[in-house]
């Protein structure tokens, strides 16, 4: 009985979390153009989606920025972790403190501060400024997920590799890198997800005429969201869901993957 109550509670929370997602999926098959009426089942929005250049361009921008930002952030973040580990405690605390600023600060303040910077540097607002901003808020996610792995590392294994004749680079990739990999992967995925889902910082750092999916949706809110947008987000969601289920179903022999928290 008590167990049933617990399960019911978890079930309710899941309904709460996933109800809007189901709603959007249902809306993507809705023949009526308005949100509030069900006009019968249709697939026309899915067809229309592939002819809608604006949306496809926004999708391309979003994915490119997320991919580039998370790749750069992963490389820079991992390098930073190696450096931090070899530093004095005071410098380390300082760097970690600065790294925490974008994590703890409000997105709106981060967005505004970057906007002020870009204006004073005279940069042209566009994809470039969005990318710079996304790299900035992505690095902390990588640093914070690689750092714990770095601390668990046994430095003797690396020294042993060097003693046995490995060069520093070879030694790093053979000994240290595999140990860090789960942290690096989860940092990358975290950064990618955050970049993809970001609206606020993009809102302040984008130029006129350049849109990511988020900013495009925001401008459409007043006019009414195009149903193609529901179709697109349903497709994205289903793709990710299937990919993640596949990864999770993967044979449990891959022990290293266990630390990946996505």
């Amino acid at each position: 009985m008590k167990n049933a109550a617990k399960k019911f509670y978890v079930f309710l929370i899941f309904v709460f979390l996933y109800a809007p997602i189901v709603t959007l999926m249902v809306l993507s098959f809705n023949a009526s153009k308005t949100r509030s009426k069900w006009g019968g089942f249709t697939l026309k929005w899915y067809q229309a989606l592939f002819g809608n250049r604006d949306i496809l361009q926004a999708l391309f921008n979003t994915l490119m920025i997320a991919l580039m930002a998370s790749l750069v952030a992963t490389v820079v973040g991992t390098m930073t972790c190696i450096a931090i580990e070899n530093m004095k405690k005071r410098t380390r605390t300082l760097i970690m403190g600065i790294t925490n600023i974008p994590m703890l600060n409000a997105d709106i303040v981060t967005g505004i501060s970057l906007m002020l910077l870009f204006i004073s540097l005279g940069l042209k607002f566009g994809l470039g400024t969005i990318l710079l901003s996304h790299i900035t808020f992505s690095i902390p996610y990588v640093v914070l997920s690689v750092m714990p792995r770095m601390k668990q590392l046994n430095p003797s294994t690396y020294e042993a590799a060097l003693d046995l004749g490995a060069g520093p680079v070879y030694g790093f990739f053979k000994v240290v890198f595999p140990e860090l990999l789960p942290g690096i992967l989860s940092g990358f995925l975290m950064a990618f997800t955050m970049s993809l889902d970001d609206f606020i910082i993009t809102h302040f750092t984008k130029g006129a005429g350049v849109d990511t999916l988020s900013t495009k949706i925001y401008t459409e809110v007043r006019k009414g969201i195009k149903p193609e947008m529901y179709a697109l987000s349903t497709l994205i969601f289903i793709t990710v869901l299937i990919l993640l289920l596949l990864v999770n179903r993967a044979p449990s022999g891959q022990k290293e993957m266990k630390g990946v928290k996505l």
Binding site: K6, Y9, V10, I13, L17, A19, P20, T23, L24, R35, S36, V76, M79, T80, I82, A83, N86, M87, I98, I101, P102, L104, N105, A106, D107, I108, V109, T110, I112, S113, L114, M115, L116, L117, L132, I135, T136, I139, Y141, L144, P148, E159, P168, S186, T193, L196, D197, I200, S214, Y218, V221, I225, Y230, S233, I236, F237, N248, K258, K261, L262
Partner: protein, 273 residues
């Protein structure tokens, strides 16, 4: 070994963080503490006491406080249940809460309009069951709901994380020594999860306090929060000095939160990651 060589690897990020984190923050302070002619003034900060701004800040504080409290009350039992379920894959739990983020956050929030509308899904179900309708769309209650919906995962994950780190032997020991269920909870479980709770509170309270999107989407245009005021100063009114001044006020709240976090969570145990 030769440590300086490794330290050099940090150079790109040190330069990067100086340019893109430290300098921009400095600029917010510069704009916030000067007027259009560039002379020092506290006027932008003081403007938070004008009736319009203080009302927006007060409402934002009230709503974000309510949302944080609701998140905590929902998340704690949930995390305990999830932890008790012994799902052998920690990552699976995290996955379930991160997954919704792959559907755009604006769309998900918009979907609540469809659900909450007068003739929306929820009210249809309620009237089918013979219950009175729920008329919360375009009210502050809808904003609280939107905040809870969007930020609940950020409360669940750190609490779940700190719960799963508790050594079951500690609880067994307490049991053996005669502690009852409630006593175990208040003497062991709760104190050990304080870092998670504090981190969760920060992760929910700050975005909720400063949001302008959720209030825009679910509050109609009737409800103005401090985030909306700041956003409008930058995108519509173009008074960057005033907007920066109000941002500094917001940062004071963030700072207080950071200090509390630092005090309670020295080891970084409550982190989401």
């Amino acid at each position: 070994m030769n440590k300086t060589k490794y330290k050099l690897l940090g150079t790109p990020y040190f330069i990067w963080s100086a340019i893109f984190i430290v300098v921009p923050l400095g600029m917010v302070f510069y704009y916030g503490l000067t007027d259009r002619s560039g002379t020092f003034t506290l006027e932008n900060l003081i403007s938070v006491t004008t009736p319009e701004h203080s009302k927006a800040l007060g409402l934002a504080l009230l709503l974000s406080f309510a949302a944080t409290l609701i998140c905590l009350l929902l998340a704690y039992p949930l995390s305990m249940i999830l932890n008790g379920m012994k799902v052998n894959q920690h990552s699976f739990i995290v996955l379930i809460f991160i997954l919704p983020m792959w559907m755009n956050f604006l769309l998900r929030t918009m979907a609540w309009q469809t659900l909450l509308e007068k003739t929306g899904v929820i009210n249809s179900i309620l009237s089918f069951l013979g219950l009175p309708p729920l008329a919360i769309i375009n009210t502050p209650y809808a904003i609280i709901l939107g905040m809870v919906y969007n930020f609940l995962p950020f409360m669940v994950l750190p609490i779940y994380n700190s719960l799963s780190k508790i050594d079951p032997n500690v609880i067994h020991a307490a049991r053996d020594l005669g502690a009852g269920g409630l006593q175990v909870f208040f003497k062991i479980t709760l104190p050990l999860t304080v870092p998670g709770i504090i981190s969760g509170i920060t992760m929910v309270f700050i975005p909720a306090l400063t949001t302008f999107v959720i209030s825009n989407l679910l509050g109609g245009s009737k409800v103005l929060l401090i985030g909306n005021v700041v956003e409008q100063e930058f995108t519509q009114a173009s008074n960057w000095h005033l907007g920066s001044g109000l941002s500094i006020v917001l940062m004071l709240f963030i700072l207080v939160n950071m200090v509390i976090t630092a005090v309670f969570d020295r080891e970084g145990e409550g982190s989401v990651l």
